[in-house]
């Protein structure tokens, strides 16, 4: 499910959002680079969930606890509120039911961090408008027939989903190729977005 060349974006963005010494579950942790940096830079104890055997091997070699699991099957193996942070980076758009996974993440983590490519980025819109073709860009480098991104959404779509699910947005960080973008213009100009979310009931 996770392509080899998934862009390693937004690690800095995510690391900034995580409190030092906290516990972290990284969903779709790939080769474990983010967990390793969270350990080195924040002293966080982490665990990864990954489906690919090769990535699992790499994580084990880095001394990272990794659990083989398929995100499309939910997070039933994980206890409620088991982690201070549950992270899903560049993977939301690849799962069969992003809404269900989001709800599961809110159950398992006190905080949820989600990073994904913003489909509302103006170049995507222009490609569709003027060329009449599915966008292919630096952050979305796949042809329509081979893309693992089956549920792309815009920043605004995601905000709406959070509202529908009673999820409170604590922080929203939008960027264009690594440079910050004001929230007002973000849906049009951000290539990447990163959200820090909590359960609305818990945030009161």
């Amino acid at each position: 499910m996770i392509p080899e060349n998934r862009p390693h974006v937004a690690y800095d963005e995510i690391i900034k959002l995580v409190e030092p010494q906290s516990t972290v579950l990284d969903l779709g942790c790939g080769d474990g680079e983010l967990l390793q940096r969270l350990w080195q830079e924040r002293g966080c104890r982490g665990r990864g969930v990954e489906i690919d055997e090769g990535h699992i091997r790499t994580c084990i070699g880095k001394g990272i606890s990794v659990f083989q699991g398929d995100l499309d099957q939910g997070l039933a193996d994980h206890e409620t509120h088991a982690y201070e942070y549950v992270i899903l980076n560049q993977t939301l758009q690849m799962v069969h039911r992003p809404d269900r996974l989001l709800r599961e993440m809110i159950r398992v983590g006190r905080n949820v961090i989600i990073g994904f490519p913003n489909f509302g980025y103006y170049l995507n819109r222009l490609q569709l408008l003027f060329r009449g073709r599915m966008p292919v860009t630096g952050t979305l480098p796949y042809q329509w027939y081979e893309t693992p991104n089956i549920h792309l959404c815009t920043l605004r779509d995601f905000r709406n989903l959070c509202a529908d699910l009673n999820i409170h947005v604590k922080t929203e960080a939008a960027s264009h190729k690594g440079k910050p973008i004001s929230p007002v213009a973000a849906n049009l100009f951000a290539t990447e977005v990163c959200f820090l979310l909590v359960d609305s009931l818990k945030s009161i």
Binding site: T23, R47, E53, R57, C59, I60, G63, F67, Q68, D77
Partner: protein
């Protein structure tokens, strides 16, 4: 590769060693309350123990295994040890780096004290008078062996199936003496299905007229019953897919069925062969004792819950299961992993997709080797960092 060539890069000829204890009021207190002594443990070792005794790895064999994990017993021996593909120079259990030990379990019949041993009180073989032993009892004997070898803390314990049960016991009860536990195709308690197959095996042995309540050592042994027990066992070690790939519906030594009972499918002759060779190396009484020890093993009941079993463990875990293993199915490994995660323990888990059934842990060397190698190397690094042997 010929045996000779293979041997070049291998451990070559190895020999078993024996350790005896328990003859002077230092017998082994078993879970049943009985005290067993003297006890003899057969073991083999490969590689060299380093100066601070911090590079030792204990391999834990499965039901019918023995202390002979790797190498050959003589220069014309054609059968290497049971985990030969994983143990040796440059292999995951790298004898250039680690000191590898493997001992025959208590209750076994391949060098260690078991029901076939002579009871010093009577001068006769124990037979069914041998005390009932548990997986924990096997581990207690291994702990004594480690004391004897001067190994305070093992870098790792590793085993599949019944060996995995022992690894779990080590990590649960003796975690101060185990840095890492590698648990392959195993469970914290055998399923009802597993117990059922063991019961059929025991019944086959005990129904053999030669069994005579286990007192067969002076005469003919219950080879037919034992062979049938082994045939049942082999069915449970394979899978529908592996049997289809290996045998299909092919007939042995003929092209078509001639509607006689002499017809033999390949799978039948495979089971016959496996049953036949097994009786030459295994004792029927040991089959009964060891299968019972597996049936009794239940960490949930023993400790109240699986979380309790691992509440105080400081060991790290690598747990691997195999997709087609229906005897020790992946969900049982995941239960262990979930309990460890709930207790915030250091655990990694992978379900390796493999068609070979329970046997996968002995066959899927290429898939599991890199993970075991990676896990062991992090244990070595940990040791270098914290400096505690």
């Amino acid at each position: 590769m010929s045996v000779e060539e293979d041997r070049e890069s291998e451990l070559g000829v190895v020999a078993p060693h024996y350790f005896e204890f328990g003859s002077q009021n230092d017998g082994l207190t078993l879970d049943s309350g009985q005290i067993l002594g003297p006890v003899r443990i057969c073991y083999e070792s490969y590689g060299t123990l380093n100066a601070d005794a911090s590079n030792a790895i204990l391999l834990l064999h499965a039901f019918s295994g023995d202390a002979h994990a790797a190498g050959y017993h003589s220069s014309d021996d054609r059968h290497p040890g049971w985990w030969h593909s994983m143990v040796g120079p440059g292999r995951p259990f790298d004898t250039d780096r680690y000191f590898i030990i493997c001992s025959n379990v208590l209750g076994g019949c391949q060098g260690s004290t078991g029901p076939g041993s002579v009871n010093p009180e009577t001068g006769d073989r124990y037979g069914l008078g041998f005390p009932v032993i548990t997986i924990h009892d096997m581990v207690k004997a291994q702990v004594r062996l480690m004391d004897h070898l001067g190994i305070q803390k093992l870098l790792a314990v590793a085993g599949g199936s019944m060996g995995g049960m022992q690894a779990l016991e080590w990590a649960s009860r003796y975690s101060s003496r185990v840095h890492g536990a590698i648990v392959l195709a195993s469970t914290s308690r055998l399923s009802a299905q597993g117990i059922a197959f063991n019961a059929v095996g025991r019944n086959a042995i005990m129904s053999d007229p030669r069994f005579r309540d286990g007192r067969y050592y002076e005469g003919e042994s219950p080879t037919r019953g034992l062979a049938i027990a082994r045939m049942v066992g082999h069915i449970t070690y394979l899978s529908d897919e592996s049997m289809r790939m290996k045998f299909g519906r092919r007939l042995q030594d003929r092209d078509s069925m001639d509607f006689s009972f002499a017809d033999q499918f390949e799978v039948e002759s495979y089971l016959e062969y496996k049953g036949g060779t097994f009786v030459d190396r295994f004792d029927a009484n040991s089959y009964i004792y060891l299968s019972k020890a597996i049936d009794y093993f239940d960490m949930e009941t023993t400790h109240g819950s699986l979380e309790n079993a691992f509440a105080t463990t400081s060991s790290k875990f690598l747990i691997l299961s195999f997709s087609s293993d229906w005897l020790y199915p992946p969900y049982q490994s995941r239960e262990i992993v979930r309990a460890l995660m709930r207790k915030q323990k250091d655990v990694s888990y992978c379900e390796i997709s493999s068609p070979y059934g329970h046997d996968s842990f002995l066959l899927e060397t290429e898939r599991q080797a890199p993970m075991i190698q990676a896990f062991l190397s992090t244990l070595t690094q940990d040791h270098a960092l914290d400096g505690t042997p």
